[in-house]
């Protein structure tokens, strides 16, 4: 079963608007959504991201990489968090994404998470092989934390 990442993207205006909303309400709506994902057995992970003011952007447009502190000025959409779900197919990913309790100014970008079959043509590549080992190491670290 394929895995998908649901990535929340909001405009700065939507973020500002949500600051005025009742936070308990937001938590409850998101909680109910997360619960439905759990009850359906499709949720395999997810995290929220902190205020963009704590973040920064690195721009690779020029050789001299430009680092800009959040909330990024001209960047119009901000990533707020993500879910990872394991579902039967793309249709089901779409259906779950539709159910997410988000408002105007916010989008969900949904992307399939690659697995090793996506790199089958590069199976001999040293780093592709190493990466499998890294996954093991990362899982072990996650296990210990």
């Amino acid at each position: 079963m394929p895995k998908y990442m649901l990535i929340m993207r909001s405009t700065q205006e939507a973020l500002d608007a949500s600051a005025d909303m009742d936070f308990t309400e937001i938590i409850n709506a998101m909680g109910a959504y997360n619960e439905s994902l759990m009850e359906a057995g499709v949720m395999i992970g997810g995290e929220g991201l902190s205020d963009p003011a704590e973040g920064f952007v690195v721009d690779f447009s020029s050789d001299d990489k430009v680092v800009t502190d959040g909330p990024y000025g001209e960047v119009h959409e901000l990533f707020n968090g993500f879910w990872m779900i394991q579902v039967a197919d793309k249709d089901e990913a779409i259906e779950w994404a539709r159910r997410c309790p988000l408002g105007p100014g916010t989008k969900l970008e949904v992307r399939r998470i690659t697995d090793e079959s996506d790199f089958a043509d590069f199976a001999d590549n040293e780093y592709v092989q190493k990466e499998e080992g890294w996954r093991e190491e990362l899982a072990r670290r996650a296990e210990q934390s």
Binding site: A32, E35, E39, G41, I44, A88, D89, D91, A139
Partner: protein
Amino acid sequence: MPRGPAAHDETARRLATIWRIEGARIVASLAAMTSDVALAEDVAQEACLEALQAWSREGVPQNPGAWLTTVAKRRAIDSWRRRDALGDRYASLAAELRESDDDDIETIGDEVVRLLFVACHPVLPIDAQCALALKLVDGLSSEQIARLFLVPVATMQQRIVRAKRALLAAAVPFDVPDPHEWRERVAGVLRVIYLIFTEGYVASSGERWMHRELAYEAVRLGRRLAVMLPREPEVHGLLALMELQSSRFAARVAADGSPVLLDDQDRRRWDHAAIARGRSALRRVDALGRGRGAYALQAAIAEQHAIASSVDTTDWSSIVVLYEVLGRVAPSPIVELNRAVAVSMAEGPATALRIVDSLHRAGALATSHLLPSVRAELLARLGRNEEAREEFNRALATVANDAQRSVPLRKARSLARSERVDGGRW
């Protein structure tokens, strides 16, 4: 929204997916209302047919689950009307329907559990229990289930119709089991889920050695059950076992489709996120503090393999101990045979052969390829090649699955060339 046949197909696809997500809750709420799972399923299907027409014309409503539930409730009332059963039940139902017409359906996890208990009711044959669990709780169509179990669609449809009739005939209540039968019934549900998993993990016949999709349906059911019955240790034990076993999917089959034994698997290809989920489920078992049952013990064995970087660094002594405990909790010749394999790794083939020989003398596993396979392996490691070859041939004669056949075949051939055969565990 486009109209015409394209809209119809598009709607049908969305409906199938919506059904997959909400079907169980819809049927469960209808069954709670009608106390009749078969009727609930029938009227829900009628509602789906209506939805297909209406949604193709008007688009999918904001809350498709509530739409389906409301229409299905009306059909249930119609059905009672037709049966001339206009009694108190109808009157109260009609009243309730008027009140709740526009309400959203609520999260009713406990009703879905009831549905699962009914689907896995011991009055049904086990294959019907598996089919009904996938149909009622997982929202799969009879066609999908037939494909997953590799049986003709008509056979599966008949199986499901018979099962629904049997539930009706036995007047199985739409309820959770009574306390005195709770443990046994929970065990029954777990058995069904694990059977679905193993059917997918090692397809019991034919050329398809592994049928991942079906196994994943079982994992999904297991995850759902862990949310619905969080205080049952074996629910988490089974989930742990399935997550850990499914972590090896990618590594279990070679490029040519032949099986790769545990020893020869590229452990980097194991799904380490699945391993982490499995181990965390196992920790939930321990956190409940009521000991490890048979599933949790098997999961703990799988965990030992999962955390070892190679066969040589595997903690075989711990695995031997776990098999000993498992043998006390759930004694079976298969457990004993697996213990023998672990003993052969921890202490050497001679001790292990004594265990296998006593199984052999007891006439255990007479129709399985496993016992002669393991015995052959041990004999080969002891240098008794002639006897080993005989055992490999015996194993070959009993393998049901074409792909699995390739393993003893390879071994018998390599033995015939007098090459050393290394511990290939099943």
